[in-house]
Amino acid sequence: MSEKTALPVGQEAIEDKGWWLAHKFLILRRITQAGFLVLFLLGPWFGIWWVKGNLAGSLTFDVLPLTDPLVLLQSMFAQHWPETTAIIGALIVGVAYALIGGRVYCSWVCPINPVTDAAHWLHDRLGFAKGWQPKRGTRYWVLGMVFAVSALTGTIAWEFVNPISMLHRGLIFGMGFAWAFVLAVFLFDLVVSRRGWCGHLCPVGAFYGLLGTGSVLRVSAVKRADCDDCMDCFAVCPEMHVITPALRGAEGDTPLILSSDCTNCGRCIDVCAPDVFKFTTRFDDTPAPARAVRRKPKRQPEASRAA
């Protein structure tokens, strides 16, 4: 902890690097999220049918089939063996996310992410307490429950409630009352549990996290020696526990953020004034000396809690 923690999050980065570099990945991420949505909306809104379907399954330029592997897996648990088209689509999606990081889906594609980010922004502005924080493994229990219910009922169970497909399909094909699911997620994150949905419960995130366990694209705290303990990266990270092992690792520990919970959103790269973080591959073995012994070796309780 340093006196810089008193500054607003990202302020130092804006002053040092300029506004654009302090928001680069946030802006790119929003553009990507909007871009994926617009690709799907070009057809129904403007009659340009480059992409047909929705995130569960789509066909691009009439040749490229894409299928959500989690939906297809539930279908198999429900004892339906899908046709080759869907299996090829799921393999393409699965391999892509396995390489670039499964939870890239969460931060760069998922339409619920702007909703929960907005809830988190308002949560911070209103100064609410963090509320109920489920255990780290909860989302995997939910994922297991989804497979169990799929097998028991013989249906693709999560699609009955999945707020992601409710919102995405709703925007493209017609919303009905599906907005209620989206509002429920927003309110849950706002008043019940800080970063509760995407960070603790969503089984889609859990699945994609597992999918990207060995992903090639990683964020690395390669210049961790320059860290000035401003804590801004912890403040913006939706899965803050992933930072600690890399940033605060001892000499010899890898500076790579290897946790499958990391969404590769790149926001830590944005807000870090000394440019500690960068995108790299998991094979990057650039030497990354650990941080020097801190001026105040006695850790304050806030720091340990954040870690």
Partner: protein, 291 residues
């Protein structure tokens, strides 16, 4: 708490793990039950909602349909829609059509089936005439104009499988006494359930003829039933013998309904009973034997 842990021989972290696991499992069981309720409710597809051609039976369909809407996109007549939560009956996001709004035009190339990536719409359906989306049923004979003895015939005329799926059966008009009723009759082996008849019924609001799901519209003959006029051998796998026509009283001995065929008696009635049967002689076993 500390006293408790002293008594408990389990290490704290293992006990905590078991506690956490039990709590998570319990919470997931509650959530899972709620989703199970939604999933089982969704099987009760409303009768007005017709699935696209080639759709698997509803319980298999909900395992196979990923709700991507590609069938909807490739439907050239905007017949198919995805169910919207709260407005439409089928499971949210699954494709269906309402025949009274836009019926299926029965495209020869069946683009909706081709578009389906998962097989929820069965690629085995290659001839649209083999589709079984539902079965048209003349549901309101009180208001059907043809049933009233008028010549509307619209459902018959629009039927893409005219004279096979719907035929007009000529019947006597009992009301007028000297007119005919041309009754629309649906034949399940040819009806595809496209719904053009329901769409075009001239009555306001509800149609007199409706496409219903097969599960609602069609009864099933019992396995051992055989129609004697279609099947010359009514025996079931040689297990059941024909009833013996005993010539005794109380049987269906049509030649001599009272009993034995009398022989050697003069004035025997014509066996074909032209002009009615009036026994003019006493028969053995009649007259109060009470058989």
């Amino acid at each position: 708490m500390s006293a408790n842990s002293n008594r408990n021989p389990l290490p704290t972290n293992r006990r905590r793990f078991l506690q956490d696991a039990a709590r998570a499992a319990g919470a997931c069981a509650v959530a899972g039950m709620a989703i199970t309720k939604l999933a089982t409710d969704a099987r009760a597809l409303p009768v007005q909602a017709i699935r696209p051609p080639g759709a698997l039976p509803e319980e298999d369909f909900l395992a196979a349909c990923i709700r991507c809407g590609l069938c909807v996109r490739d439907c050239p007549y905007d017949t198919l829609v995805l169910a919207e939560l709260g407005y439409d009956g089928p499971a949210t996001g699954t494709p269906f059509f309402t025949a009274r709004n836009i019926p299926c035009e029965m495209c020869d190339d069946i683009p909706c089936v081709k578009a389906c990536p998962t097989g929820a719409l069965d690629k085995g359906l290659t001839n649209i005439d083999d589709a079984d989306m539902g079965l048209a049923v003349l549901i309101d004979e009180e208001h059907c104009l043809n049933a009233l003895g008028l010549r509307c015939d619209v459902c018959y005329r629009v039927c893409p499988v005219i004279d096979k799926a719907i035929t007009l059966e000529r019947r006597h008009n009992e009301r007028s006494g000297h007119h005919a009723i041309f009754m629309p009759v649906v034949h399940s082996d040819h009806c595809t359930g496209c719904g053009k008849c329901e769409k075009s019924c001239v009555l306001p609001n509800e149609s007199a003829i409706k496409v219903l799901p097969m599960r609602v519209a069609q009864a099933e003959a019992a396995e051992h039933y055989k129609l004697g006029w279609e099947d010359r051998n009514p025996l079931v796998d040689e297990l059941i013998d024909l009833p013996d026509r005993l010539p005794g009283p109380g049987t269906d001995n049509l030649v001599a309904p009272g009993g034995y065929l009398p022989s050697g008696i003069e004035g025997m009635p014509d066996p074909s009973m032209e002009g009615g049967f009036a026994p003019s002689y006493g028969l053995p076993g009649t007259g109060g034997a009470g058989q």
